[in-house]
Amino acid sequence: MPIDPVVYNYICSEMRYPANAVIIEEGAKGDWVYVVLEGQVKVKKETPKGFVVIDTLSEGEIFGEVAFLEGEGAGRSATVMAAEGTVRIGILDKEQLIKEYSLMSPTLKAIMRSLPIKVRETTQRICAALVAGK
């Protein structure tokens, strides 16, 4: 997926990660939003039976939006790791995002916030199902 021009305008910094480097750690505080510029990243979740991969993201895909949309210091919902080769990640301008987000009406914000809640719940259920099936 090519990188959306809308996203390009918000990139304020760029990082390179070697294979298997941790980009986001589950549970850590932080609400920066990222975009994959090159390569792939794996979204993993820690379970009592080890890590399970719940998603793989490629070029142009955004991640980190769960913690951002949820706000109020919510911890990261999953670990994101660089897959193979060199992975290039763009970091989006958080100040700008917060400014735009604050312009939304409370109802619209509530709708936006409901998405990450469901992502978190669904992630938990997937993990539970994967662990039960192991």
């Binding site: 918000y10 719940i54 955004i62 949309l69 939304m104 669904t122 997937i126």
Partner: protein
Amino acid sequence: MNNVNRSVSTAKLLRYKKGEQIFKQNDFGISIYKIINGKVLVFRECEGLEVPIAQLGKGNIIGEMIFLLKGVEVRSASARALEDSEIEVTHPKQLLEEYEASAPILKLMAETALNRLVRMNTFLDRLAVNEQEKREHFKAGLHFRKNKRRFYRKKVNLACKYALRKAPRGCDVTLKGSIKDISMSGLRLEIPSMNERVMSHEIGEVFQVETVLPNEKQLKLICTLVRSSKARGCIDLGMTYAQLNEGTRKTLGFFLLPA
């Protein structure tokens, strides 16, 4: 469901009794529901299974996915009241306009979360269906740890009767033989050499073979003769099933399970 307040034009307060459905997967509808009081279960319906997605309470919003998809799709999940609940329903015309006018980056983020959710829900459906199948296999005794193959060819010695399925007039005789081994795809039949003199045993011909399994289950099999070889005083016939109905498949499958 009890309509409490009809005077408010944009938002209506509805009351749902415990167990009542709020909306159904695959329905059209763009309204957004806000839980004022109570508890709601959001779940997916997949191959007759209910796969829970989220249990939500006071202040949570449901039905927003279709709003973000701009109502062009059908509802991706169903919702049901888990206890008596009060829910505010809004037709989101104004909200839709506001959403359209908001920063494209935020819309993109919402879409990203939405796509992820849809992808994960499908994944969860698959996991739930797999799990259900496993449970059913376990119940049917089809689950075992040591062997991955479900069915085996079994050596047996079963007396049987067989006849040509479409016998020409005057040749509609039933002969005796014994099944020496049997699998889910075919069987090996041993017959006395003299049988050949009574009836033709041409490759390609279709026979009906009847036997009783050691567990006293009757088995009627429609088989095509695919191989014939002479041995001492008898003929060895290789047959494959021309058709196998569900009942026969089950009976046979159960019999062929490794001990």
